[in-house]
């Protein structure tokens, strides 16, 4: 098999962009389908970009620059910024074991939640968009519901449900005879992290299910029809049409999944408060504790931590992206 074109609809002569493997259309790559603008269109281009650019400059770029600026000062967030410490904040963060523990926890959390939530929400999205399924609206609403609960409330609910003395989980486990004594999931770093991951997946699941549903809508119906005429099985349709077609959006959804998970904060505050000890500290919690946890606030230090982590995360995710792309290229070259 030398071609990776998966969805070659029979009977079509004109090779359009759609028939090309999706990997070639991963949006950040400059491909020739993208037009150059000419004449009056240039004005329109600017008009289209302006609203986003203005807000982006004001609420993302300028705060970013300000944060970089603050990170070179020993600033409490109050009063004049005049105590320049150069890279002092950075060098003390680099040797702060708690920061690195937070980084590791955050990455473990981000990877685990992403690995769990993306596939199962995709399965749910595929199932809940089947034509034959009844009660779609009802089930979608069900899986969507946890997203509406404020994080503080969700944390409280799970603290109650998971409590070893009278929580629902332990009651069930005990009734089933699986445990004879209350099991405290928050007493151990790894079980506490796992609970954080599972609760986070539970809460955010609906969001990814909807991302996937939107992506699935992107697959032209006629491809399925053509495949049906060819007598392709459901499984074949899934692996040969659906999955390759949603790949460009999947890249973005994965990115969002990782990035959002890296910003986890509220659940950590309400479920573990970073404990036991400091073993479930995540970066946002570390930043928060430094920026607002105790007087005098270490706002400059927190800014430096935020930036440093952004860079680490960016590097790791892009490295992973590059590796995937390289693998894809190699696969194509060798025709595997």
């Amino acid at each position: 098999m030398t071609t990776t074109a998966p969805a070659a609809a029979p009977g079509r002569e004109k090779v359009t962009d759609r028939d090309r493997p999706p990997a070639e259309r991963v949006p950040e790559r400059v491909d020739h389908s993208r037009e150059r603008v000419r004449g009056l269109d240039r004005v329109w281009l600017l008009v289209f970009l302006a609203p986003f650019l203005l807000l982006y400059l004001g609420f993302t770029i300028w705060p970013l620059i300000a944060t970089i600026y603050y990170s070179f000062f020993d600033w409490t967030g109050i009063g004049p910024i005049d105590d320049f410490v150069g890279i002092g904040n950075y060098s003390s963060i680099l040797v702060d074991p708690l920061f690195w523990l937070s980084v590791v926890n955050t990455l473990v959390f981000a990877v685990l939640t992403t690995v769990i939530k993306l596939p199962i929400s995709l399965v749910a999205a595929i199932l809940l968009t089947r034509k034959w399924l009844r009660g779609k609206r009802f089930f979608r609403t069900m899986f969507f519901a946890p997203l509406i609960i404020p994080v503080a409330m969700a944390g409280m609910v799970f603290t109650y449900l998971l409590n070893p003395s009278n929580g629902a989980l332990n009651a069930i486990l005990r009734d089933l005879g699986l445990v004879d004594q209350g099991f405290d999931v928050f007493a151990n770093r790894w079980s506490a992290l796992l609970v954080l991951v599972l609760v986070a997946v539970w809460q955010i699941f609906g969001q990814y299910m909807i991302y996937w549903m939107a992506a699935l809508q992107n697959v032209p119906e006629e491809l399925y029809e053509a495949a049906a005429i060819d007598g392709a099985s459901e499984w074949k349709k899934l692996t040969r049409i659906t999955l390759p077609m949603i790949k460009p959006v999947a890249v973005i959804i994965t990115l969002l999944g990782l990035v959002n998970a890296m910003h986890v904060f509220g659940l950590v505050v309400t479920l573990t408060a970073g404990g036991p000890g400091t073993s479930t500290y995540v970066v946002s919690y570390f930043i928060y504790q430094n920026a607002f946890g105790a007087v005098p606030f270490a706002y400059g230090y927190a800014s430096a931590a935020a930036l440093l982590f952004s860079v680490i995360a960016f590097v790791l995710v892009s490295a992973q992206g590059l590796a995937v792309r390289r693998a894809q290229r190699l696969r194509k070259e060798y025709g595997v």
Partner: protein, 486 residues
């Protein structure tokens, strides 16, 4: 003064903003403080349970002073610490605010406060409302001007009390009138509760800083309940008395006498209120907390904390932390604020009456023996007033006035603010000895303090570790004002 310049981006945004705002038709509502000649006082704090009370006293005050309106807001504590600094930075601070995270010198340093009265001095008939020695230079006075006033008193008000659930004790065949007094008593009572009832023995929260509930109650019978020992001038988490106390908590846990789980305070309090635990350690505020949850005070009794079998060797510390409400430097109505402060500190006034009716606690400008009617609050006062139960801690500021300008101590606490609690929680779940888990945080704080003081001394401040060391102090005795003069 303002370090931030808008910059080009901001100007572009401004243009876009006005466009967008016009397009979306959202009006910018900014007219505040309506009617002619009326002053609105903004007061901020973080006592959500007192919202109704604040509304009530505000209304009464306006009835008595028709041209002053009170707008009292409660923000929850975590957000308060974040928003108040922002409010000051952007010139929209309230007229009066609650703050107990730092003392007078930091507040002056940050330029957040102004004297209580418009001209800076307060009349004798105002200070007379408090016991002698309540207004001290460096604590709430500076250069003859008065900036703060003690709000809550510190003899009874605080942590370190033991609450017993009547129902559980009855079921276990124990007498709440004869509460456990020693560590062994406590273990025996727990054994009986575990054997005869379905309830847990001690509801002890151990999540993060909530660990303090049981810790303060137990350690203050052994040593000082601060993480800093003023007798030796050392951060003391890993000192023998602290280790001994912690080992006892570990023993309680091992014996199954602590309710299982890494719970927070809300959970443990409800566990106690629901009759699922017999004993809970906490502070004076518990009666209004439980009242608000419908768990009335005839269901429990308050008892003194338990001592080690060989007797009490420590006490809970009283600090000069009663100064809670401050007048904002940004207020435009110093006269009105001063009027309000005089009104709220009237020992026979409406504010005081309602405060005691709600049993929120004990105020320092009130004759508590006379005013307190709540039976549990009375019990608490009886316990707290016992000699050696709660003692006045030494105050470095009164020994070395230059400490007011020193930041070494707060800086030592600022890094990993919850460090001690985190070490204890770590040691508790892992079963490791506290001595090894807590060593790092003690070392970090001690070094930060000593180094900080040295640097400040080099810059000409008269500060040293000596200011923080009071070898003549005994853990169970008040460090009285005359002891500073030596």
């Amino acid at each position: 003064m303002n370090p931030h310049r808008p910059g080009i981006a901001a100007m572009i945004i401004a243009a876009a903003a006005s466009l967008l705002v016009a397009a979306c038709g959202t009006s910018t509502n900014s007219s505040s403080g309506g009617g002619g000649g009326q002053t609105t006082l903004k007061i901020w704090d973080f006592s959500a349970e007192q919202v109704k009370f604040h509304k009530d006293v505000g209304a009464q005050f306006t009835k008595e002073h028709p041209n002053i309106k009170i707008e009292w807001r409660s923000i929850n504590q975590a957000d308060y610490m974040k928003t108040l600094p922002l409010a000051f930075q952007s010139n929209q601070a309230p007229d009066m605010f609650y703050w107990n995270a730092t003392g007078l010198s930091e507040l002056l340093d940050q330029k957040w406060i102004r004297p209580l009265s418009p001209d800076g001095t307060v009349p004798a008939d105002f200070t007379k409302r408090w016991p002698d020695g309540s207004f001290l230079e460096g604590i709430n006075m500076q250069d003859g001007k008065t900036y703060g006033f003690p709000f809550t008193e510190n003899l009874y008000w605080g942590s370190g009390y033991m609450f017993l659930n009547k129902q559980v004790f009855q079921q276990a065949g124990l007498d709440v009138g004869n509460p456990p007094k020693t560590w062994t008593d406590l273990k025996n009572a727990c054994a009986q509760i575990k054997a005869k009832t379905k309830a847990e023995c001690i509801a002890a929260p151990t999540k993060g800083e909530d660990m303090q509930r049981i810790w303060y109650a137990l350690v203050s019978s052994v040593s000082t309940d601060e993480f800093f020992d003023y007798k030796t001038g050392k951060f003391d988490l890993t000192e023998p008395a602290q280790l001994k106390t912690f080992a006892f908590i570990q023993e309680l846990k091992k014996l199954g006498y602590l309710a299982p789980g890494t719970n927070d305070k809300n959970f443990s309090r409800q566990q106690f209120a629901a009759g699922q635990a017999g004993i809970y350690f906490d502070g004076t505020w518990m009666l209004s907390v439980w009242d608000s949850q419908g768990f009335s005070s005839d269901n429990y009794v308050v008892a003194p904390r338990v001592n080690p079998d060989e007797g009490q060797t420590g006490a809970a510390g009283r600090t000069y932390d009663g100064n809670k409400y401050w007048v904002s430097s940004q207020t435009k109505h110093p006269d009105a604020v001063w009027t309000f402060i005089q009104w709220m500190t009237d020992p026979n006034g409406y504010f005081v009456k309602q405060y005691y009716k709600n049993a929120f606690g004990t105020l320092s400008y009130v004759d508590n023996q006379k005013m307190v009617t709540h039976p549990v609050l009375k019990q608490i006062m009886e316990i707290g007033a016992k000699p050696g139960y709660r003692v006045q801690l030494p105050e470095p500021l009164l020994k070395c006035p230059d400490i007011a300008k020193s930041k070494a101590y707060v800086n030592a606490l600022a890094k990993s603010p919850d460090g001690e609690w985190e070490a204890m929680s770590q040691a508790l779940v892992s079963g490791q000895p506290l001595a090894s888990v807590g060593a790092a945080i003690v070392e970090q704080r001690q070094t930060a303090l000593e180094e900080g003081l040295k640097q400040e001394a080099a810059r000409g401040l008269k500060v040293s570790m000596d200011c923080y060391t009071f070898p003549d102090w005994e853990y169970t005795k008040d460090y009285t004002a005359d002891m500073y003069r030596q």
